[in-house]
Structure formats: structure tokens, C-alpha cells
Point group: C2
Chain length 337, copies 2
DNA sequence: TTGAAAGCGCTAACAC
DNA sequence: GTGTTAGCGCTTTCAA
């Protein structure tokens, strides 16, 4: 194994000089710098990560804690994870992947051992058990999601309330007067991550202002559940002409069942989704939707985390502005009835 | 920060004793052991990861290199990644997530710096650029996928050839005589990961033995592409009564278009998929399918990698036996025509 | 602009 | 069954 000492000897300088060439923490004459860099290349030197971490008390590793449930929001999570890793590399950091499996203790472990310099938490719940541990660890942390109590943390999330509001507005503008919201599965609401609640609340508030009538139904993403929900909805409110869906899995079942029901989209029924771009684009109908901006969230999370690590930046709450993109699934409310 | 020396002092023993209590590498009397463990608890001691890595030349970290393309096989990849992480933890290892972004050099970096003790490569291509680098690094590695040249590596993959064979068998047994295979998008074949080719080859071989006529069409996973392909297929071979699909995205479009076409599944047309269990279960029809056993692959990969790290185990090629599960999308070939 | 040297916290001989 | 101690390879004062 090639060590820094080997490089120093080969270049005819001291170890510290090599170290400083690498870190750039002090000015080095052009000649020595070149000599050192040449030696590094020739010897194929790679600084030892462990030694570095020990001497500098910095691992240059960020821990990313994945959600426990691997069955939900998979594409978004994956996109965030990859974007976090890519982004972190641009700042010279690597990413350690933690699963929910190990529980909140995982946070203590990686942070207590100095394995990770900082933590990103995905899929944060309103009263997340990991937060107290993180807080007492004193390590920089960024949450993706919005817990009940944000003090001590930087949070990044989509402004779901505004997203709901945009959906209401869009349908109201198209002349719809009565709409239904197909929500996440009941389990999601029970988990209290808050985003589903914020969406419906934002939607309801705006709907009230616009005189839009709203029926909200949480729903499993299966054909059977969707069929049941749809039947009930049209029975209760036959005048409904618009749907807002916030449930990846439910999108195709909904479209498929409407088709079967001989209700044309968007002529008879308008559909607006809150979902990853991918889902909105690849289905049987290109959906008018509010996207969940995974990469942007990851970028904010990493950038701010690095700022906290390196410049002790302050905590902030970033609520990203949602955008509604009009596609083929929404149109004017049918006239008459 | 609490160090091992602090613990030693607090427990009234030497540093090495504490170290040995932790590692279990030598026998310690019950009393000292308990005293040490008590001190560890009381002081809230966490061994420093960097120091450990430096002293032992072992980081207890496995690097997991994700596929470059984040748009394909997302659920399987995510499932594998999480299973790898969970499994690794059971052996006391953490997982570092590398994206394709950084290119093959990422391998050299994490391995050269001693950041990772070993590597798992996902989505391996037939002539993968990362393999030579890995080979010369001499670090233990496991590939998920099957490259052209496996020497020096342990490989884990589904036996796709056998999977194709099973599909042919199943349809033949049901009396089908003419089938179509909807394959992955052309881009997948161009990337030369080999699995798509192995599937069709295994299927073809068995089909020939069984007197089954096969038409193979790679296909994008969009409604438009699927509609085009389907039209062509039925024009060319009006006698087709069975479909094998190996393309997650194409499953729903296919089912939907068949329905629109008034071809009932499974009465008129049988459909067999090679896809993740999740996809087979959550669509509009519960699909007869051969599952891609993500967790099992991850388990094999991790277990064998650990065996290589700790016991210098030999390289092996694990081709997991596929299983075809009969569900609601396949049935006897229609009589007459 | 550079060098010397003292650790960082742990492991693993080597001693007894 | 336990203690002593020499590193592991790097960063960073301190000194010149």
C-alpha cells in the first residue's frame, strides 16, 4: 500500500507538504506542487479514508436513512436517494445507506462512531422517534418531510398545501363545481407523515374560497378498492366532474375504471394527479399533475447539509413551490349534466 | 468524546481488555467483562469508526454500485439495495451507495482509499468497464448479473434462460401453439446486460422442443408503442393465443389494449410475465408470472461477499432457480379459432 | 514556502 | 486472563 510518506519521499518533500498539496490548506510553490502531484500519479497513491477520518475527525460521509416501508413511493425514494448520492459526491462526500430496519438506533450508531458527519432523514413522520436522538447528537441533519416540531433541523419538502390549492384552482377555473379527492391508503394517514393531510387541507381551503364542493376518500391502490370507492363516490355525488388523485398506485385503476364506466377523460371527467412526473407521463393518459420534485429536494437537502457541516449554516424550512402542469387529463367541465 | 481509554480507566482495566471485550477475540473473565460493559453503557461509549478502520485495515463497509440508469427496473433495484443494506447490517457491515454517475473510477476510489472492504455491482453489463478495475484491485466483489467473463468474481442472478423455458412450458401445457414475446425496450438489448437475451434464448429452445411457434418483439413500455406492436403481431400471426412479457412498463398497456380489443384474458389470450412480484400482483389482472427474486439475490450476494471478506471464500456463479406462479392471466388455449 | 513531530483512537502482537 | 506498547496513515500545530 502506498502511503503519504512514500509519496513524500518519492517527491523529496515532507509528509506535511504532501498533505497540504492535497488539502490546499496552505500555499505551495508551483514546482513542489507539481513534483508532489507527479509522485502521487506515479505511485498510484490514494489517501487512506480511515486515517483521514481519525486525524481530522471528519469522515466525509453522509448517512441517508431510507424509509422503513419499501413498498411505497418507491420511484420517488429511489430518485431522491440517487440524487442525494450524486450531489454529495460533487461536494466530496459519500453516502451511507441506512434502512429503517435497524430503527432509530441506527442514527446513534453512525453518528456516535463518527462514521457519518451528518444525516439526511427521508420519509419523516410528524413525531419521528429518530428526531430526539438526532437532536441530542448535535450533528447536522436535514429532514425530507415536515415533522410537527422542526426546531434544530433543516427541513425540505414540497409545499403540499399549495399543491392541493393549485389542484382546486385548476379545476375551478375549468368550471368544475364538485370534485372528489382520491387520497393515499388509510395506512399512510395513520403513519402521520403529514403530507397527505397538508394536501387535502390546502385543497379544501382554496375550494371553499372558490365555491368548489369536495369529497375526500382515502383509498388503497388496488383495482378492487378503487372500484368500490368509485361506486360510492358517484352514488353519493353524481354531479362530480373532477378528480384529484394523490396515490401513485391508484392512478391507473382510476383511469381504467372510468374508461370501463364509459366516462371519457377529459370530456366527462377531469383528473389531476399529485405524483412523480414519471407516473404522470407513462400511463394510458398523460396526466395534468403537480410533480413531486425529487431531485430538487435532494439538491436542497445536500447543499444545505454541506453548508451546515462546513459553515455551520442556520436551520431553515424549505417548502418547494409546486407547479401544476396541464396535460391531457383535464378540461372544461361538461355543460348541462 | 468518550474513548476506549476513558472506558478502560473507568472500569479499572487496560485498553486492550476493553478492545478484546468488544471484539471477543480473546477470552475474558465474566467479572471484567461485566465491569467493562457497564462502563461502556454508563459513559455512552461508541468505538470510533475511523480509528478502527485505520488500526485494523477494515472499514466494515461494503460499496454498492447502483445502475446508471435510474429509470429502469426501479422497484427491483430499490428492493435489492434495501435488502443488501439490511443483510449487511446483520453481519456488522454498513453499505455505501455509489451511483453510476461517477463512472468506473468510483470503484477505484472507494477501494483504493480503503473506504470499502468489498464491492457489490448491480446491473452488470456483458463487458462491464468496472470489472477490470475491480479485478486489479483484488478486493472481494460480487456481481448481480452475469458478465461475459466471470473469472475472479462471484455472480448472482436469476436463471433467466430457465425462466424463459418455464414460460414456454406453461403455455404449451395449456395447449397454446403460437405465442408472442413482448421484450424489453430496444435500448435494453443494446446495453448488453444479457438477461433479456438469455430469457428469449431459453424460451426459444424449449419452444422448439415443444413445437411452439414464437414471435419476439422488443417494445417500449408506452401505450403508443404497445399498440403499434400489438397491431403488427396480430396481423402477422392471427393465430397467437399467448403472450410472454418481459417488460415491467409494458404490462399494463398490454392488458389495457387487449381489453379494448375485446380479447378476454385468459379466455382468448393468456399472458405470462417475467417481472417483480409486485407488478404481477397489483395490476388490473393478477398475472401468472416468474418473479425476479430481489431479496434472495441480495441475500446471496451479501452472504457470499462476507464469506469472501472473512474466510476468503471461492468464487461461484449462483443462478437462482426461477419459479412460475400460476395466477389469473393464463388458461387453456381457446378451442377452434 | 516548507519541515518536524505530536497526536487522533484503536488493534494486535508480545509479554507475563 | 490481563497489561504494555508499537504502530495504523493522516492532519495540524509549532517552528523556521
Amino acid at each position: 500500500m502506498v502511503t503519504l510518506a512514500d509519496v513524500a519521499q518519492h517527491a523529496g518533500v515532507s509528509a506535511s507538504t504532501v498533505s497540504y498539496v492535497l488539502s490546499g490548506k496552505r500555499t505551495i510553490s508551483a514546482v513542489t506542487k507539481q513534483r508532489v502531484e507527479r509522485s502521487i500519479k506515479e505511485l498510484g497513491y490514494h489517501p487512506n479514508a480511515g486515517a483521514r477520518a481519525l486525524a481530522s475527525s471528519r469522515s466525509n460521509i453522509i448517512a441517508l436513512m431510507m424509509p422503513l416501508r419499501t413498498d411505497m413511493y418507491v420511484p420517488v425514494m429511489m430518485e431522491i436517494a440517487i440524487a442525494v448520492a450524486t450531489n454529495a459526491r460533487e461536494h466530496g462526500f459519500d453516502v451511507l445507506m441506512l434502512t429503517g430496519e435497524e430503527g432509530p438506533a441506527a442514527v446513534r450508531r453512525v453518528v456516535g462512531s463518527g462514521l457519518a458527519d451528518a444525516v439526511i432523514l427521508m420519509d419523516v413522520e410528524l413525531n419521528d422517534a429518530r428526531l430526539p436522538l438526532l437532536r441530542e447528537s448535535g450533528r447536522p441533519a436535514v429532514l425530507i418531510g415536515l415533522p410537527a416540531q422542526t426546531t434544530g433541523f433543516t427541513c425540505v419538502d414540497l409545499d403540499f398545501s399549495e399543491a392541493g390549492s393549485l389542484c382546486a384552482e385548476h379545476l375551478a377555473e375549468l368550471g368544475h363545481r364538485e370534485i372528489a379527492v382520491i387520497g393515499e391508503a388509510p395506512a399512510v394517514y395513520e403513519r402521520k407523515t403529514g403530507f397527505a393531510e397538508r394536501t387535502i387541507q390546502g385543497l379544501r381551503t382554496r375550494a371553499r374560497q372558490l365555491g368548489l364542493r369536495v369529497l375526500h376518500r382515502p383509498c388503497e391502490g388496488t383495482y378492487a378498492a378503487m372500484a368500490g370507492a368509485l361506486g360510492q363516490i358517484f352514488t353519493e355525488r353524481p354531479g362530480i366532474t373532477g378528480f384529484v388523485v394523490q396515490n401513485e398506485q391508484a392512478v391507473e385503476p382510476l383511469l381504467s375504471l372510468l374508461r370501463q364506466d364509459r366516462r371519457a377523460v377529459p370530456e366527462d371527467i377531469s383528473v389531476v394527479a399529485v405524483c412523480p412526473e414519471q407516473v404522470a407521463l407513462q400511463g394510458s393518459v398523460r396526466l395534468t399533475s403537480v410533480a413531486i420534485p425529487a431531485r430538487e429536494m435532494a439538491r436542497h437537502a445536500v447543499d444545505h447539509l454541506i453548508a451546515k457541516i462546513e459553515r455551520d449554516a442556520d436551520d431553515e424550512v424549505f417548502l418547494l413551490r409546486p407547479e401544476l402542469v396541464v396535460r391531457a387529463s383535464s378540461g372544461p367541465a361538461p355543460v348541462g349534466g
